[in-house]
């Protein structure tokens, strides 16, 4: 027993460290944690305080009723305006237009949904971009390739 002093010291040190961790953890746990479930309850209110950036699905229809109506009867009906353009709050403040809305004419926008992928459900029309554009191999895809033929009316009402 008399030659185990170091082992007792180590055990004591270990207990001290564990106590420190357990007590220290207590102070690190956020205040409202666990109040209404296993999460920080205050996070809810911090999020509720934020201005919404997206509009409701028909938010654009108030002012762009012609385009909204065209889109609703076309195949892009399930695609939100904000997916192809930008969030409502980048365009409208207090019910009025205050900045231009982004118009994305880049082919990558369309490719995001229409590029042929084996893993993509067949109910979405897919094209092999290079084949569809009849590009020679090595030829770069022009930035605004798709809108040359699929013009804005066709895009809003495909």
């Amino acid at each position: 027993m008399e030659h185990t002093k170091h082992i007792w010291r180590a055990a004591f040190l270990l207990i001290a460290v564990l106590t420190f961790v357990i007590v220290g953890r207590h102070f690190l746990v956020p205040k409202s944690f666990g109040q209404a479930g296993y999460y920080r309850y205050d996070a809810l209110f911090e999020h509720m305080d934020k201005e919404p950036r997206h509009g409701a699905p028909d938010a654009c229809a108030d002012c762009h009723d012609d385009i909204a109506a065209a889109k609703a009867s076309g195949k892009h009906a399930p695609v939100q305006c904000e997916v192809c353009h930008d969030v409502l709050s980048s365009h409208i403040k207090d019910g009025d237009k205050f900045a231009d809305m982004r118009i994305n004419r880049n082919w990558e926008l369309c490719a995001y949904c229409h590029q042929r992928l084996v893993g993509r459900p067949a109910l979405i029309a897919q094209v092999d971009i290079r084949e569809h554009l009849e590009l020679a191999s090595g030829q770069a895809i022009p930035a605004e390739a798709c809108v040359q033929c699929h013009d804005k009316d066709a895009i809003h009402h495909p």
Binding site: H3, K5, H6, P78, V118
Partner: protein, 394 residues
Amino acid sequence: MHAQSLNFLFPNDVHIMWSLMIVLYPYITGLVAGAFIVGSLYHVFGRTELKPVSRLAMVASLSFLLVATLPLLAHLGHPERALNIVITPHFTSAMSAFGMIYAMYLILVVLEIWLLFRKEIIELAQRSTGLKRAILKMVALGVYDISEEARRADHRVVKVLAALGIPAACILHGYVGFMFGSVKANAFWSTPLMPIIFLFSAVTSGIAMIIILYETLSAVNGRKISGDCLQSLAGYLWLFATVTVTLEILEIVSLSYAQDEEWLIVGPLIRDKIAFSFIGIQMVFGSLIPFILLGIVVTLKRYLTAGMRNVITFIAALILLIQVFSMRWNVVIGGQIFSKSGIGFRENYIPELGTREGVAAALCIFLIPFLIMGAFNRLLPLAVEDGDAKAGSH
């Protein structure tokens, strides 16, 4: 198609999210567990011929353990939030269980190494001066007792710690396999065999790594390699590699024999998509060749010179390290190449070079444990002195 909102999630299931770092992570934790098991063969099961690597194995285990979380942190978008899982762990979360297992295992290994090196720490403290001496004295917890009785007490505690460490090491790594095995949606991962396969390949990689470290360390120090030790390691490596590969094959064979619907996607995955890394590297190059090489070392040992045995074992160990890495790669990347719906495949994954999750970062992370071991060896030699043998309890 209904005119419902597609919202902002469409389309998903296109990218391979778990990158090279997620391949590296189970590889490194596997080395942690495997190296520890090698150490325990001596400390718990009294395989005295493994004494020359008993310290090396423990320090290797610790060195890999210290970097085990780095690949995950490099992969996370918000690495600074990683501690949340430790501060507010949820007991139903396997990920947060990892935090606790990791901490427990770290304590065990540090304690065990401290006891193993206590004599050397004290001797070093007595030889040095100034600040170094003060620090080393603190590390020795102020007790300079290296009498027979104290050493015997050390050995008893080491034995208990090592015995506790075996389940801890197995859980630490079994957990990694469990993480993959519990992804229900993934036909290639979702099997209860996953933790077991991971565990066995971890031990394989651990033994292989210790062989390589031992031979390298001996060459650097100009010491003789212990024939008994290497012969025994080669035998264990052969055994564990064989079990590992058998399990890996059994898993695929049962999938293919049952011909469930998941085979419709896993079959083409193995045949076409990961044929090179699975059949080529993991099965033929990585398993068959070491099986033959180690078979020669184990069964024909009478006809081999010591030099030949060392070289053959070294090569087999190196190949098995590659095999285990390719197994991790095939599980992690292969499991993501096909769509979870089983409808088809994605683009193949090629890791970038210079990004946060790229090849260069992975190599840097993998280098750190060796630097730690080198620094440790400089301070406290990893090689076990022969004169020490009688102080051992075995």
